[in-house]
Symmetry: C2
Subunit: 214 residues, 2 copies
DNA sequence: AGACTGCTGTTACCGCAAGTAACATGCACG
DNA sequence: CGTGCATGTTACTTGCGGTAACAGCAGTCT
């Protein structure tokens, strides 16, 4: 019943957990989201039941993994978003940070966005009921908070900020996803185009003159 | 080797295929994306191998299902987008059409956005290599085409239109997904907020005066 | 010392779903 | 009548998520 012993055990367990997470990370990075528990256990040099003792089920492991990466990415984004600079510059820096991240490690990105629900009995994947990846939701909420904190939106501003937060994050995500697959232009061009969109250029440009239809 | 006979068989096969698709639809609507092939076969009153003869694998069936729904949704969206009205009105109508669709049939929406890659051997799901759901890509491309057709974007306009197409669709999707889960406001309010965002209000609003930080 | 606790680790198993092989049946054509 | 050919079946394999049940190895209490 000694307290120090308990702490020792806890520390050992935590270290082990971190090792397991890193092994899982390597496998997911290699095999994508459909990495099997067996493969992860093998990579960690152990067998399945240990993984289950540590993380409960596949959803737990994936959630732990996702939380790690999500936290890291969110830290970078916060840094870009909080920089002491012009609003447009901050927006562009944030977009660029996100795009650089998904460009650098597309496998991680793929995993975070597509959690690959399990096929087993009972378990329906770890995001039952929710549709999008947790990363998107968290980014949306964070951005909403920053918007509401920084901008004077008047009455109903909090709700507006949340809509915008999720909307902007979704814009970034979808454009980034498409860009990552087709690479139609440089990252800088993409950032500029998206910022232009957010800056109202869609409403500002003129109709085509000899356009089809009417 | 008669041609008419071949046509008869083809027609019969097509009808059968449609019946199977409708049965699959019912099951997916009921059980979500993790509907099993067995369940679908049972609903159709037959057994698994027939499904496999018609659709190849689970990915094929899901792709066929998704194509049907995607086509239907895209038709509605095109109608809203092509209406003879003010640009802002058209944008709002399109947003509203999309949101109404996902509100009316969230199960279908969930299925389309979250294709649930298979866990079997060999097969990696039907969207190997691509990340997002096909629906998002298709909507993005369609919107890009309309934008490029209607708006005078100057040099590099085609690429800009594609970025905007995918970006706007992503915005719509993420905001809609979040809204569907939390229902923080009415559909009309959401539409208005998103249109405001696209109309550059983000750039136009003032900084908060007594804001935290600096 | 010796029984007890609690952790780590194993092998061997269950249940389930995807996908396939092999066999049975109805039907038009020569 | 036999020959194609599509339709349908049962019964199987493979692979994965998840779970007993058991084995070793600390340190602890009496």
């Amino acid at each position: 019943m000694d307290t120090t012993q308990r702490t020792d055990q806890q520390r050992s367990a935590d270290r082990r957990r971190r090792e397991l997470l890193e092994a899982a990370d390597r496998v997911v990075l290699r095999d994508g989201p459909q990495a099997s528990m067996n493969a992860i256990a093998a990579e960690a040099g152990i067998t399945k039941p240990i993984l289950y003792r540590h993380f409960g089920d596949k959803g737990g492991l994936y959630a732990a993994l996702a939380t790690r990466h999500t936290d890291a990415l969110l830290d970078s984004l916060r840094a870009a978003l909080d920089a002491p600079a012009d609003r447009r510059e901050r927006v562009e820096a944030t977009l660029d940070t996100y795009l650089a991240a998904i460009e650098a490690r597309p496998q991680v990105y793929r995993f975070l966005m597509h959690p690959a629900e399990g096929g087993g009995p009972g378990d329906q994947g770890f995001d039952v009921g929710k549709h999008s990846a947790p990363l998107l939701r968290r980014m949306g909420e964070e951005l909403a908070q920053v918007i509401e904190e920084r901008l004077d939106l008047g009455p109903g501003g909090q709700q507006l900020a949340r809509v915008w937060g999720h909307g902007i994050v979704g814009m970034m995500h979808a454009a980034g996803d498409w860009w990552l697959g087709e690479r139609p232009c440089s990252r800088a061009e993409l950032v500029r185009s998206l910022a232009d969109l957010l800056w109202g250029r869609l409403a500002a440009v003129a109709d085509r003159v000899g356009g089809p239809g009417f």
